[in-house]
Symmetry: C2
Subunit: 148 residues, 2 copies
């Protein structure tokens, strides 16, 4: 068979697997505070800047609104955020943290550190991480620009 069609030769499969496994590593911590991983991403976006339209959140996460909208509705049902019509532009929906959502930041602070311990593998060190990040950022840049 073609060498190229072997699993072990494919970048995509590695990214797919690494992504799933590291997301699983977040699960125990996140379920403790009632969030899924994608919901945690949304919270990070809002903790950094509260009160953003759906589109801004989606763009920062490289997601479409048809993924983000149901996600936000579930988060609203859980009481973490509010969704209100924009007054300047009535098409927009502005997403804001509730006090419950804002309070969660303190509880989430330790999570990157906790998960970091689980992810401590010899190939990702404080010295090598920036290069890895740059490679992945480049890849994301290439793929996201190409798709638009």
């Amino acid at each position: 068979m073609q060498e190229q069609l072997k699993l072990e030769n494919q970048l995509c499969f590695r990214l797919y697997t690494a992504s799933r496994l590291i997301t699983q590593a977040y699960h125990p911590q996140l379920s403790g505070i009632g969030l899924t991983y994608p919901q945690y991403l949304v919270m990070m976006v809002l903790w950094e800047k509260d009160g953003q339209p759906v589109n801004d959140i989606a763009r920062k996460l490289f997601l479409e609104t048809n993924t983000v909208t149901p996600l936000l509705k579930r988060m609203e049902a859980e009481g973490f955020i509010s969704r209100t019509k924009g007054q300047a532009d009535a098409r927009q929906v502005i997403v804001r943290l509730t006090s419950k959502g804002r309070a969660l930041e303190k509880e989430a602070e330790c999570i990157p550190y906790e998960v970091g311990k689980a992810v401590a593998c010899r190939s990702i060190t404080p010295e090598s991480a920036p290069a890895l990040y740059e490679t992945l950022d480049d890849l994301i840049q290439t793929l996201s620009v190409g798709g638009r």
Copy 2:
């Protein structure tokens, strides 16, 4: 806010995004031959070695049977594979390529090359790729061992 809680500081978010975007890059090619990306992974496992129990396929893809079983059923419905009870061990279900599934390999041969062109980003070169693969393999190893 905590620096650690910023999106741009997180490895997991990069892997999650890179994985989604590169999987999207496969979509045009794969939909042309009637496969989804996870189905394509299963096909690669079978092209490499036909006639494997569900468990072996799941293990090679780092997935659980509750993900793989419905996937295989859809692939059987599409006529790419067959699922038959193992005779040595009646608990097992042996998955085999149909002639249609086997024929697909030739059509899939060009896909890694085609997608590779789209993924050509300056940070992933033939020289740097092995180091990146090793880092990701290490990470996958760390995370998959920890979870068992």
